[in-house]
């Protein structure tokens, strides 16, 4: 893919909407505009891909188990609460 010469000021405008584009939270016209732009602009495509990868990584941060000592502390707090009701 080659990057056609173009005015990168427009890129900055689209840049502010990339998350909405990824989340599909924009109207059809804007979606099509960005679809078309990234087929011609390597910089924006690269930005889009790295942003998508960042989001994908955030979703992989996983769940840590609750430490047993803290879980016990919570259980005893709950017992105290019930007694106080």
């Amino acid at each position: 893919m080659t990057c056609k010469p173009h005015d990168h000021r427009h890129c900055l405008e689209l840049f502010s909407k990339l998350s909405e584009y990824i989340d599909r939270e924009m109207d059809e016209g804007e979606l099509r505009e960005i679809d078309a732009h990234i087929t011609e602009c390597l910089a924006c495509l690269s930005c889009l891909q790295s942003l998508k990868q960042t989001i994908a990584l955030c979703k992989q941060t996983g769940l840590q188990p609750v430490p047993a000592v803290f879980s016990q502390k919570l259980q005893s707090m709950l017992q105290d609460l019930q007694r106080s009701r």
Binding site: A43, S50, L63
Partner: protein, 206 residues
Amino acid sequence: MTAETPPNRKTVSDDDTELIRAINAGHAERFPELVRRYEQKLYNFGRRMCRNESDAEDLVQDTLLNVFRYLNEFRYETKFKNWLYRVAANTCLKKRRRSKFAPEPELSLEELARPEEAETLEQAPEWARMPLEQLLNEELLETLNQAIWSLPEKYRIVMILRDVEEFSTEEAAQILNLSPANVKVRLHRARLFLRDRLRGYFSHDL
């Protein structure tokens, strides 16, 4: 006194509804059951919001105390999970207001945009094109967690609710009492900030 849902208000029913109605009807002994359902998620939310582990534990405890205290005000107009995160978010933000006086820094879109990318790139960086399973390791996750903790809190909480807890924009807006537009702006800046940190990490590694 249990809060009644006013007539003509839409109610939401989910897997927690029966349990909450029972607790609110006087079966407080079932409260630990509710805690068990959300304990791990809440703990992990706390760990992501607070760098310090004991702060995270305090957040979980205070949130559960508030839930216990105010559960009878839950009006079944939203999923319980959303209400729980609203309580947790408020608890967290109140704690910060009490402990710090310095205003939070703003993340500027212009600084995160890096226009020089437009001139130097030939293709997306390798890390952005690699399959996740090849990328993921403990060091990377640690880097990502450190980056999340470095986010100013008002951006961090939006990013966690949207990209980790996977609430919708509308739900995150309700939880944080923000407009959906505001959630979108904060989320985009938070993601760009994290992308920047990851680029820094991979520029040394790949």
